[in-house]
C-alpha cells in the first residue's frame, strides 16, 4: 500500500489533533475534576476540623457564643448540605463484658436533613467528620457539603475543553492546508516535472519556488534540468561528430579489410611463389616419365612396324605388350601431374570457410614435400633430413584444409629456412675436414599425435633457433627476421589467427643455436 506525501501530512496532523483532543476532552477534564474533588475534600475536612476545634474550645469554656460562632463558620456557606453534631456515649454491651461506643446524631442543621453517624461521601455530597472531646460532651462534627459547585466547575472545564479542542481542530485543519500547500504541492509539482524530464522533456521547470528547503530543491532541480539540457545539446553535437567519425572509421575499416585481404592474398601468392618451384619439380618428374616412355613407345612402335613387315608376329606381340605397359606408366604419371596441378589450384583458391573431414597426416606430408621441393628448386645444394612420425589412429578431423595447409606450409618454410641458415653459418666456420664429415645434419621433423580429444602437430627443426628477446613478437603481424623482400611478416600472424579460428592453440619453444619447435593443437571433433 502506497501512502503519498499529502496523506502522510494529513495523517500526522490528524494524529496530533486527535491526541490533543483526547488530552483536552478526556484526560485534562478528568485530571482537573479529580484535583477539584481532592481539593474540595481537603477543604471540607479543614472546615470540619475548624468547627470541631471551635466547638471543643467553646464547650470547654461553656461559651455558647463560641459554639454559635463556630457553627456559623459553615452555616452561611452556600455549599453546606448539613452540619451535624454526633454524640458519643460509652455504655456496657448487652453481656456487660465490655464498653461500646454508641454514636447518635445529637443535632443537625438544617433540621430537614437526616444524616446518619457513619455516613460516607457520595457523588452529590462530600461528608467529613472531626472529633471533639469536652466535659459537656464527646463526639464529632459531621459536615456535609454538596458537590454542585464541583459539578458546575467540571461542566465549565468540559465546555472549555470542547471549545479548546474545536479551536485546536480548526487550527490543525488550517495547518494541514498550509503544510499541504507549502510542502505537498511543491513536492508533487517537482515530481511531475521530474517525470516529464525523465520522459525526455528538458524544457520543464518548477515555477512556484517557496523560500525554504523545498524551494532550494526546486532551484537545484531547475539547475539540473538546465545542465542536462546543455549537456544533451553538447552530446547531440558530439554525436553528430561521432557519426561523421564513425562513417570515416567504417570507410577506413573497409579499406583496412580490403588491404588485409590483399595482404593475405599477397602472402598466399608469396607462398605460392615459393611453392611454384617445388610444384614445377613435382610436375617435372612425372612429365619426364611421360616423355621418356613416349619416346620409348615411339621407338617400340617403329620396331613393331618393322617386325610386322617381316611377319614376325611373336615379336610384334611382345613389343605390343611392352607398349601397353609403358602406356600404363604414362597414364599413371599423367594422373600424378594432374593431381599436383589440382593441388596447386586448390591452394591458390580462396578458402571456402567450410570445415570438412580431412586426413591431417596426408595434408602434413603433402605440404612438407611441396615446401622442401620449393626450397630445393632454389638451392640445389640444400639437403635436409625429413623425419615424420604420424599417428595413423587420428583419421579425419574437421578442419578447413586450405587454411591448415597454409599454416603447415608456413611452419615448414620457416623450419627449412632456419636449418638452411644454420647450415650456411656453420659452413663458413668449419674446417675442410669437418666439411668432409659434417657434424650438423639439418633435420626437420613432423609428428602427429592424438592425446584424448585433440590432435597435436609438432614441427621441429635444429636450425639456429629464435632469440628469447623476440620470441614474444613472432606472432605479431609484419614481424620478420628475414631480409627485406624475403618475408612479409604475416605468415605466423595469419597462422595464429587460423588456429584460433579453429578453436586450437599454437605454441613455440626454442633455444637459440639449437632448435625450434612449433606445436599446433587442434580439437579432434
Amino acid at each position: 500500500m502506497r501512502i503519498n506525501l499529502k496523506t502522510k501530512i494529513w495523517l500526522t496532523i490528524c494524529f496530533i489533533v486527535l491526541m490533543f483532543s483526547f488530552f483536552t476532552l478526556f484526560y485534562f477534564p478528568r485530571q482537573q475534576g479529580n484535583l477539584l474533588i481532592s481539593d474540595y475534600n481537603t477543604e471540607v475536612q479543614n472546615l470540619a476540623n475548624t468547627v470541631a476545634l471551635g466547638v471543643n474550645i467553646a464547650l470547654t469554656e461553656q461559651n455558647f457564643e463560641g459554639v454559635q460562632t463556630a457553627i456559623e463558620y459553615v452555616k452561611n456557606d452556600p455549599r453546606l448540605q448539613f452540619v451535624s453534631m454526633v454524640q458519643f456515649d460509652t455504655s456496657w454491651n448487652t453481656s456487660h463484658t465490655a464498653f461500646v461506643i454508641k454514636k447518635t446524631i445529637f443535632k443537625t442543621f438544617p433540621e430537614k436533613e437526616h444524616p446518619t453517624p457513619g455516613m460516607l461521601s457520595t457523588d452529590s455530597v462530600i461528608v467529613k467528620n472531626a472529633l471533639f472531646t469536652t466535659n459537656v460532651m464527646s463526639g464529632a462534627i459531621l459536615l456535609g457539603f454538596n458537590t454542585e459547585e464541583i459539578t458546575e466547575s467540571k461542566e465549565k472545564i468540559k465546555i472549555a475543553s470542547i471549545i479548546v479542542s474545536s479551536i485546536i481542530f480548526m487550527i490543525g485543519i488550517l495547518i494541514g492546508f498550509v503544510l499541504a500547500r507549502n510542502i505537498s504541492v511543491p513536492v508533487l509539482a517537482l515530481r511531475d516535472a521530474a517525470n516529464r524530464v525523465g520522459e525526455g522533456d528538458l524544457d520543464q521547470k518548477v515555477k512556484h519556488i517557496p523560500n525554504d528547503e523545498i524551494g532550494d530543491l526546486g532551484k537545484a532541480f531547475n539547475k539540473m534540468v538546465t545542465d542536462l539540457s546543455t549537456t544533451r545539446k553538447e552530446l547531440n553535437e558530439k554525436n553528430v561528430q561521432l557519426s561523421s567519425t564513425v562513417s570515416t572509421l567504417n570507410h577506413t575499416l573497409l579499406e583496412l579489410k580490403n588491404t588485409h585481404a590483399q595482404l593475405i592474398q599477397s602472402e598466399k601468392m608469396a607462398s605460392l611463389g615459393e611453392l611454384t618451384a617445388g610444384i614445377a619439380h613435382e610436375i617435372q618428374n612425372p612429365l619426364n616419365f611421360v616423355n621418356n616412355f613416349s619416346e620409348v613407345n615411339k621407338e617400340l612402335l617403329i620396331e613393331m612396324q618393322e617386325e610386322i613387315d617381316k611377319g614376325n608376329m611373336n615379336e610384334v606381340k611382345s613389343i605390343a605388350k611392352d607398349v601397353i605397359e609403358n602406356e600404363e606408366k604414362i597414364n599413371h604419371h599423367g594422373k600424378r601431374a594432374d593431381a599436383i596441378v589440382k593441388g596447386m589450384l586448390q591452394h591458390s583458391r580462396k578458402s571456402s570457410g567450410q570445415k570438412e573431414p580431412t586426413n591431417i597426416n596426408t595434408l602434413a606430408d603433402e605440404f612438407l614435400r611441396l615446401s622442401y621441393q620449393g626450397l630445393r628448386a632454389k638451392d640445389k645444394s640444400f639437403n635436409v633430413t625429413m623425419k615424420t612420425d604420424f599417428d595413423m589412429s587420428i583419421g579425419k578431423i574437421n578442419i578447413i584444409p586450405q587454411d591448415i595447409g597454409r599454416v603447415l606450409l608456413n611452419l615448414y618454410n620457416n623450419a627449412f629456412y632456419a636449418v638452411q641458415q644454420r647450415q650456411k653459418e656453420l659452413s663458413k666456420e668449419v674446417t675442410p675436414f669437418e666439411k668432409a664429415s659434417p657434424l650438423h645434419e639439418p633435420t626437420v621433423s613432423v609428428t602427429t599425435k592424438k592425446p584424448g580429444n585433440s590432435v597435436i602437430i609438432t614441427v621441429s627443426d635444429n636450425g639456429n633457433g629464435i632469440p628469447q628477446n623476440i620470441i614474444d613478437k613472432i606472432f605479431q603481424p609484419f614481424f620478420t627476421t628475414k631480409p627485406t623482400g624475403e618475408g612479409t611478416g604475416l605468415g605466423l600472424s595469419l597462422s595464429y589467427d587460423i588456429i584460433k579460428a579453429h578453436g586450437g592453440e599454437i605454441k613455440v619453444e626454442s633455444k637459440e643455436g639449437e632448435f625450434t619447435e612449433f606445436v599446433v593443437l587442434l580439437p579432434a571433433s
Partner: protein, 160 residues
C-alpha cells in the same frame, strides 16, 4: 460474766450508732438548707420589666422569647454550671442538671433557634454584663452593686 457483758455492750453500741446517724442527718439537712443560695433575677434598667411571673421568667430563660416588648433583644446572663449559683439556677429555674442545661443550650445554639446565653464565672462579671447591655437579664445570689441594674420581682417576690 462474759454472757452479761456482751449483750450490754452490744445494746450500747447500737444506741450510740443511731444517735450518731440522726445527728448526721440533721447536720446535713441544716447544712444543705444553709448552703442553697437565694437566687434573684436582675435586669438592666432599660428594656427589662420590673415584674413578671415565674413561668414568664422560665420562658425567657429557656430562649422561647427573643425580644422584650420594647423591641430590645433579650440577653441572658447565667453563672457557669460548675458554680453553686449556676447549679442552683439550673435546678430551680430550668429543672435540669448542669450537663442537661449545657446540652439544652448546645442544641438550641447549634440549630440557631436561640441566642446563646452568656455564662460567667463570677457574679461581678455577670452584673457588669447586665449593667452594660440593655435588655440583659441574669440570675444572681447577692445584693445589687450597680445603678444600671435592678431586681425583677417574680410572682411579686425578689427571691426565687
Amino acid at each position: 460474766m462474759k454472757k452479761q457483758l456482751l449483750p450490754y455492750s452490744l445494746v450500747n453500741h447500737f444506741a450510740t450508732k443511731k444517735i450518731l446517724w440522726l445527728l448526721c442527718l440533721l447536720c446535713l439537712f441544716f447544712t444543705s438548707k444553709a448552703q442553697t443560695p437565694s437566687l434573684m433575677a436582675i435586669g438592666n434598667v432599660l428594656g427589662v420589666p420590673g415584674d413578671m411571673k415565674f413561668s414568664e421568667l422560665k420562658s425567657i430563660l429557656m430562649g422561647e422569647k427573643q425580644r422584650w416588648k420594647n423591641g430590645d433583644r433579650i440577653l441572658i446572663a447565667l453563672m457557669k454550671t460548675n458554680t453553686a449559683v449556676g447549679k442552683a439556677t439550673s435546678e430551680k429555674v430550668y429543672d435540669m442538671s448542669g450537663d442537661e442545661l449545657n446540652k439544652f443550650w448546645l442544641a438550641l445554639v447549634f440549630q440557631g433557634k436561640a441566642q446563646a446565653p452568656k455564662f460567667f464565672a463570677s457574679a461581678d462579671e455577670l452584673e457588669d454584663f447586665v449593667a452594660q447591655n440593655p435588655g440583659a437579664i441574669g440570675i444572681v445570689d447577692r445584693p445589687l452593686t450597680g445603678s444600671e441594674i435592678k431586681y425583677i420581682n417574680i410572682n411579686g417576690q425578689k427571691i426565687l
